[in-house]
């Protein structure tokens, strides 16, 4: 798959503090790439390097095959975590100013802004000052300004903070639409459910090092532990429980059910077949529930970070 952004062995030191240590990341074209990591891991530094706000000490970054250059700024749309707008400036004027800084002409910027303002139904805010708007409203303007110049690469740092669920959904759909229209998205967040929902690739940075990256599905495959959640309806629960504990690695599980049954997580050896487990269980009683436990992004995050 073609890569839009390639970072090779990027390191950055602030004084005595190493913010990034030899990090290499490849972002495929047209993907939504989750950049994950605990607070202070170095995500923001990495994003700032892509935006040429800070320069790496060593290492190279390529955008669309070319080494990063000042003019690439216009191909990138960046919504930083620390974001805001000039409070005393009018919405329209401010959006025009920011768009022109990204290289759009005054006329072009105006046309596109009209389109986006209509699309998000915020047309009548044009002459309002930012300080008259709520935080969520200001965030919408910020989003529009970020995507207005139709960048190839969109970088969102915690894009949903400050939005109510309805607007968060709206923005999520807009991001997906932009991806479908060909944009590549780098997405940094602590909200694992949105990672689960949106990202197809992830990279995990911890203590300045990249400790994990790849397709989310592949990572999940690698992290699954051959564990199955089962529900078993039986006449003789004590005996069955004892036998299960003897034969397998068993841990208690809880899931919603209408039956009054035994609920367990059962781990089988790596190359054993789930079919064997299932047929064994049917001999013990009525099998009401049989699901493979797939690790969530959240689980993977916690497990990997704690392991390192």
């Amino acid at each position: 798959m073609e890569k839009l952004l390639v970072a090779q062995n990027v390191s950055k030191t602030f004084g005595n503090y190493k913010a990034l240590n030899d990090v290499s990341i490849e972002v495929p074209k047209g993907s939504i790439f989750g950049l994950l990591g605990p607070n202070g891991a170095g995500k923001t530094t990495f994003i700032r390097i892509i935006n040429q706000i800070t320069m790496p000490d060593t290492g190279k970054v390529f955008l669309d095959g070319e080494p990063l250059q000042p003019h690439h700024i216009q191909y990138i749309g960046y919504l930083p975590e620390e974001r805001g707008l000039y409070k005393s400036m009018k919405v329209g004027e401010q959006a025009l100013y920011l768009a022109q800084l990204k290289g759009l002409s005054h006329q072009e910027a105006k046309t596109r802004l009209k389109y986006w303002f209509d699309r998000l139904d915020i047309g009548d805010w044009w002459n309002k000052k930012i300080q008259e708007l709520s935080k969520g409203m200001a965030q919408k303007i910020q989003f529009v300004v970020t995507v207005l110049h139709q960048p190839k690469l969109l970088i969102f740092d915690e894009p949903f903070s400050g939005f109510d669920p309805i607007n968060a959904n709206l923005i999520k759909d807009e991001i997906l639409t932009l991806r479908n229209e060909g944009a590549t998205v780098i997405f940094s967040t602590h909200r694992m459910e949105s990672v689960e929902e949106m990202c197809d690739h992830i990279a995990l940075i911890h203590k300045s090092n990249k400790i994990l990256d790849g397709k989310l599905i592949d990572i999940k495959r690698a992290y699954k532990s051959n564990t199955f959640e089962v529900g078993l309806h039986t006449q003789n629960p004590e005996a069955v429980t004892a036998e299960l504990h003897e034969k397998f690695e068993v841990s208690p599980a809880t899931f919603k059910s209408i039956n009054n049954e035994l609920q367990y997580k059962i781990k089988i050896p790596e190359h054993a077949s789930p079919n064997d487990l299932a047929s064994y269980l049917t001999t013990q009683g009525q099998l009401t529930h049989f699901v493979e436990v797939i690790p969530s992004a959240n689980d993977i995050f916690i497990e990997t970070v704690q392991k390192n």
Partner: protein, 433 residues
């Protein structure tokens, strides 16, 4: 439109449209002219009131010595005791009572005369009275020594030395005063401009930090462009305000003068009295001649260069401070190092340069870039060789480039730092990032 002009335009419009900026632009001249009008009006009121002074002259030597003026009227008392005179003049609510006792010799008078009054009398009035008494006693003493006062007067010659440089340029003391006025005004103007608009730049950098827009902006433009744009934009707004002030003050003064008949510049001052005594018209001519004698072209060009250079130098430092802190209250620790050289420059300018425009101290400070704009501007009217001026300008602009580099470094790192107040040590560390 390129980035820099976009930023300058935004900064300029943002400042100029700001409500408090507009209010200050119109209010300041109003207040200034208002205050001067009030002072002029009050001092006129004060002068209009006639002060009555009773004189009890027991010596009999000063009978004709006190002449009435529009504001001072003397009443000679006789045949009363001091006590009676005191109560009488208190009843009449006189300004005061001058008591001259009879003494054995004229010399004894020096400590014997008393002025009684309700409150402490005005120094100007007392000076006038003392002068009148001294004039009389001097005459009497001269007569005692057998010298006619008129002879002394005739013998006295007033010396007015002509000043001329070795190059044959004629100068004068009046010219020196004018040069001081020119240099002082230029230096003081620059000082005020730096403090007012330097602070404005600092605040606008802090605003960008507190509104958290900074990261959005610098993902589009280089910090140095933003820094320069802010400095130029604010400077243009400052010049606009300054021009508005000059025009408004001019217009308002003219209006006040013509409508109320009060001249705000008529506040009495010692200099004016001096000029008046010399004959108004001839002095006015001299002033015009002296102005024409000043190296005007040189002055104007150098004023512009030093003004721009000095202002930009300090402005970039103010911007760096703004970038280093989170809020205006944190700026204090960094303000001192900026204000010190500025205040030093004004002190050197107003004390050392006035005393000796070409002394070692004056020369040294007119090369140090942080003081040269003020000090050199004050020296130039007294004649500074062109190579020295050029050298000083070059040093100034070279340093400006240095401080912009320094400020840009601080700025680049500082604008993204939130939360803690940096120390000087940290600032130095930032330079290496």
């Amino acid at each position: 439109m390129n980035h820099l002009s976009l930023i300058i335009k935004r900064e300029y419009l943002n400042k100029v449209r700001n409500k408090s900026f507009i209010i200050m632009t119109f209010l300041s001249p109003l207040i200034m002219v208002g205050i001067f009008t009030l002072v002029a009006y009050l001092s006129q009121l004060n002068n209009d009131k006639v002060k009555f002074i009773s004189v009890l002259d027991e010596s009999g030597l000063f009978t004709d010595q006190f002449t009435d003026t529009p504001s001072l009227q003397f009443k000679l008392l006789s045949n009363t005791s001091l006590e009676e005179a005191k109560s009488a003049s208190e009843e009449n609510s006189d300004y005061g009572l001058l008591y001259i006792p009879k003494t054995a010799t004229i010399d004894d008078l020096s400590k014997a005369i008393t002025f009684y009054s309700e409150d402490s009398p005005s120094l100007i009035v007392m000076d006038d009275i003392e002068d009148a008494i001294e004039e009389r006693t001097n005459t009497l003493k001269l007569r005692e020594a057998g010298i006619d006062a008129q002879t002394i007067k005739d013998l006295r010659i007033r010396i007015d030395a002509n000043l001329e440089t070795f190059q044959g340029e004629e100068t004068s003391k009046l010219g020196s005063g004018l040069k001081l006025a020119f240099g002082g005004a230029a230096g003081y103007l620059l000082f005020m401009f730096i403090i007012i608009y330097g602070n404005m730049i600092m605040r606008s950098v802090i605003e960008e930090k507190t509104s958290r827009i900074i990261e959005v902006i610098i993902s589009s433009v280089k910090p140095i462009k933003l820094l320069l744009g802010k400095i130029f934009g604010t400077t243009l707004a400052g010049i606009t305000q300054f021009l508005a002030w000059v025009i408004l003050i001019g217009v308002l003064s003219a209006v006040v003068t013509s409508i109320l008949g009060i001249d705000p510049s008529a506040v009495p001052s010692p200099q004016q009295e001096m000029i008046e005594s010399g004959g108004m018209e001839s002095v006015a001519q001299d002033v015009i001649m002296e102005i024409a004698n000043l190296p005007l072209a040189n002055l104007i060009v150098m004023f512009i260069l030093f003004f721009i250079g000095g202002y930009l130098l300090y402005a970039s430092l103010y911007a760096a401070i703004g970038a280093a802190v989170d809020s205006e209250t944190d700026t204090q620790q960094f303000m001192l190092p900026i204000l010190m050289p500025l205040i030093l420059a004004v002190y050197v300018g107003f004390f050392t340069v006035i005393e000796n425009p070409h002394g070692t101290v004056s020369q040294v400070f007119s090369y140090i870039p942080f003081t040269s704009p003020v000090v050199m501007l004050m020296r130039i009217p007294f004649g500074v060789p062109m190579w020295q001026q050029i050298l000083s300008v070059v040093i100034l602009f070279a340093t400006f480039i240095g401080t912009v580099w320094f400020a840009a470094k601080i700025y680049r790192v500082g604008i993204l730092m939130y939360g803690k107040k940096p120390s000087y040590k940290e600032l130095i560390k930032w330079l290496k990032y």
